[in-house]
């Protein structure tokens, strides 16, 4: 049998069902891997060995007594540190929450626990999910397992890196402008941002409420679909949650048939700023889809070039309000409370000390954009652009079943390379932001390595709202073909991590 840590989640489930291995063994293998390599990768902020093993033991007991189990019972997972976990630290990568232990579980966390999925620990992220490199974590960057000097994407770099480093077969991310998909792209893993409202946001610390979405991450399309099916579905605790049946993502991931589908290439995504090796792999994927019987058409989404600007008004505006609660009064860091200062001073000192530069930058931007006299020009205009982008999608989906593009303009860049240039950092998300603005589902899956640097390239698939199953169908078709072509998963080409 393959080394446990290199197995896919679906294979691990089969192995457990046939009695070859227990969840405790699987979980322990991953904990050992974390102990061996995470000093180099730094995918995890907290590891909960005891909690994970006890959940695993519970699953094993149920399995041996013949109780019915969920589709992923016993397969351990890395959880982005932005989801509230009862009794486990939840820092959002920020000093301001360094010692906060939530008294409640996020809805997704409850569903994971219910499904018997052991939570290995909490994964690193850019502070409050602001960033595309995980360099903005207050607790130090995560390193890309493909090249430890490079970024693993962001904000969910811990979740993507733990998959690529074989520290976990499953992970949970959140995606506000690409924080699941771009990390997946640059680490050679799979990540899905579901339809807005498809997965409950209750308990995910909000960055921008109207854009945030929790989603599944894994190393294969099928594993991602299985995890998707576990976490998705209506939740009355989240008013924006959609009360409808979860799209049949697992069936779609098993099908992988694009024969007769119409697939659109967005004219406005690509060209300038897109690395040649990224474009080359993308073009090959297009040809591959055509070979599989899909009809490829070029579509225009004329307002996409405005997406980044609109996004950087809406996101900071919402985040300036969402992050106001971090004031040192009820939870988290408190600075300057020596009895001599007013509550305003303590709030102000707490926030100045607790938030990092990127967070402060966006709070200031958003506060400004919402100010009286500027609201219409900034927030108001941005919302209009948002509507126009949604209309671009609507028109495109009248013509095609899904849209595709490169996920990120480049492969993983070097740690430190863009840290002092926020605009360059923001441009990483130029291809992923439109679906967040329109509330649509999107997937990134690996399509090969760029010739110039031998680093992974991701393909983005975009679908209409609540048609998340189409992502999995198309993704599975491409994945199957590429696996046959390569003879082994892309990640087998990643360098061995030295380990401790």
């Amino acid at each position: 049998m393959t080394e446990l840590i290199r197995m896919n989640a679906s294979d691990l489930v089969d192995a457990m069902n046939s009695g070859d291995v227990s969840s405790v063994e699987i979980t322990q293998a991953h904990l050992d891997r974390i102990a061996a390599v995470d000093a180099d990768v730094h995918a995890f902020l907290h590891v909960d060995a005891a909690g994970a093993l006890s959940a695993a033991a519970e699953v094993d007991a149920k399995r041996s007594s013949g109780e019915s189990q969920s589709v992923l019972a016993g397969v351990p997972l890395g959880l982005k540190d932005i989801l509230a976990t009862k009794g486990l630290p939840t820092t959002c990568g920020s000093k301001i929450l360094e010692n906060w232990i939530p008294p409640y579980d996020a809805t997704v966390v409850s569903r994971l626990r219910q499904a018997g999925i052991p939570i290995l620990g909490k994964t690193n992220m850019d502070e409050f999910a602001m960033g595309s490199s995980t360099e903005h974590s207050a607790f130090g960057p995560t390193h890309n397992p493909w090249d430890l000097e490079r970024i693993p994407g962001g904000s969910g770099g811990g979740s993507s890196a733990c998959l690529a480093a074989f520290e976990a077969p499953l992970a949970i991310g959140t995606d506000t402008g690409g924080s699941i998909r771009q990390p997946a792209a640059v680490t050679g893993t799979v990540g899905v941002k579901p339809t807005y409202g498809g997965v409950s946001r209750y308990g995910a610390v909000a960055l921008a409420s109207s854009l945030d979405q929790i989603g599944p991450c894994a190393r294969t399309v099928l594993d991602t679909a299985l995890l998707h099916s576990v976490i998705a579905g209506y939740d009355p605790m989240d008013s924006t949650s959609i009360n409808a049946a979860v799209p049949a993502v697992v069936e779609a991931a098993r099908r992988g048939d694009v024969q007769g589908m119409k697939i659109g290439i967005v004219r406005e995504i690509g060209g300038e700023g897109f690395q040649a090796g990224v474009q080359a792999r993308f073009d090959e994927s297009v040809a591959l889809l055509e070979n599989l019987g899909a009809e490829i058409v070029e579509v225009s989404c004329p307002n996409f070039p405005l997406a980044l600007a609109a996004y950087y008004l809406i996101l900071p505006s919402e985040c300036s309000s969402n992050l106001a609660k971090f004031d040192g009064i009820r939870f988290g860091l408190r600075v300057g409370d020596d009895g001599s200062k007013s509550v305003e001073q303590v709030m102000s000192e707490t926030r100045a000390a607790g938030f990092g530069d990127e967070v402060i930058r966006r709070i200031i931007l958003g506060t400004y954009a919402l100010s009286a006299g500027y609201y219409d020009a900034y927030y108001g205009q941005a919302q209009k652009v948002r509507t126009m982008i949604a209309q671009d999608f609507t028109r495109a989906f009248e013509e095609v079943d899904v849209l595709i593009s490169p996920t990120a303009p480049t492969t993983a860049f070097k740690i430190g390379e863009k840290l002092d240039d926020p605009m360059a950092m923001y441009l990483n998300d130029v291809a992923t932001i439109p679906v967040n603005l329109a509330g649509l589902p999107g997937m990134s899956l690996p399509i090969g390595l760029a010739d110039e640097d031998n680093l992974p390239v991701g393909l983005q698939i975009m679908a209409p709202a609540m048609a998340d199953d189409r992502l999995y169908n198309v993704g599975a078709a491409i994945e199957r073909e590429l696996l046959a072509k390569w003879g082994a998963p892309l990640l087998s080409k990643a360098p061995e991590l030295a380990g401790a």
């Binding site: 989801l83 509230a84 939840t90 959002c92 929450l97 906060w100 939530p102 008294p103 409640y104 996020a106 946001r201 209750y202 308990g203 995910a204 610390v205 909000a206 921008a208 409420s209 109207s210 009355p236 605790m237 989240d238 008013s239 924006t240 505006s317 919402e318 300036s320 309000s321 106001a324 609660k325 971090f326 004031d327 009064i329 009820r330 939870f331 509550v343 305003e344 709030m347 506060t367 919402l370 100010s371 009286a372 609201y375 927030y379």
Partner: protein, 504 residues
Amino acid sequence: MTEPTMKYSEAIEKFDPVMGLEVHVELGTKTKMFCGCSTEFGAEPNTQVCPVCLGLPGALPAVNHIGVESAIRIGLALNCEIATWCRFARKNYFYPDMPKNFQTSQYDEPIAFNGYLDVDIETEEGTKTFRVEIERAHMEEDTGKNTHLGGATGRIHGADYSLVDYNRAGIPLIEIVTKPIVGTGKYAPEVAKAYVSALREILRSLDVSDVKMEQGSMRCDVNLSLRPTPESPLGTRSETKNVNSLRSVERSVRYEVTRHAARLTAGQTVVQETRHWHEDTGVTTAGRPKSDADDYRYFPEPDLMPIAPSREWVEELRATLPENPAVRRTRLMTSWNLSELEMTNLMNAGVLELVEAAVNAGMSPDSARKWYTGELARVANERGVEVEEVGVGHDVLARIEALIADGGLNDKLARQVLEGVMAGEGSVDEVIAGRGLAVVSDDGPLLEAIDAALAADPEVAAKIASGKLQAAGAVVGAVMKATRGQADAARVRELLFEKLGVSE
């Protein structure tokens, strides 16, 4: 520090007052506006809280449907239009009693707007109806409650530290805002009071809130400005916060008119600021400066879906509205045979509901009215509570009335019985038994007492016998005294005249 004021009559001669009233009403829903926590008043601090109303990271709001329904019913009862589509908005500002540092409220899309409320006031020319136009009624959540400790004033300035109780945070509020109220002239204080009173009646009839001003479930902010003439542009306003009784609404308006007038007449400007009303001294003091440029950075609440009440639902709610209190007032006035003035007094005393309940339970309108506006109002006033809080139900009054009617009690004894009931000594009959309060109906002891009284004052017998019947009062008084008020005065009189051989 008391500020100079001008005599009210003088002030009103020189200036035209303009008011704006903002009333916050806590809805009587069982749970909070955006979470499932209890809204029960008086619980231990911070025991009715959860991640949502504490604003913990990750928590999300979910709208209380009953809260929305109540808001619509209030809007309809205030003759408002109901929005076909509206949203919540975030009002952003930092304050420790506000868990999220923004209040979930409504901004430019209130659920109800463009309404009015007609109120009656007594003027020199008789009862006049005054229309108060309503700008909007919108939904929002209440804040927590700060207690400032260690200072002399109980205010944040000078306090050593403050405690916050978040039990109140997230309780549904409806804020009802009037348009500028103009044209009241000298009756501004009366109009303000009558408006708040009428509003309270309506809210009570809708059964959406317990509207207890002293507990803060109904709070009134009074904006007031003066201008030289009704044609002049609006003057600078002050905003008197949390005026917590009907009487205070009237008094604070009156006070602010006299304070503004004094400043303006002295060539000073009125400072745009909030004012604190002091019930005890009857004055307001400066709070925080308030500018029109206060920037709350409102934007639509992205965590909640827009609310689009269907017209069918609105009409359904309209059809089930209770009788309008004004209509009801006319109906009751006729059926109880009251004058306008008597009815207004009843309304202003805030006891209409109580009287109606008593009448429905079989009491006569006159005696119910007499009890609630008389003895019970006096006790409530003495204790500084509302009449309904005195703790005397109409069952108690009905029993007392029945005993008076068949001679078992007289008025004086009845008051003592009431006192006993309020003191928790039990039911009416238990108090009578316990205190031995029954009217002495046996003639024997009465005749003895009459004899004793006549013996003590021999001249009085002669006076009565000679036809000066008014002199009988002294004897009756003496007998009442001797029987500790337990005699039936009419019977004493009868026995006395019989004894002296005179007739009335």
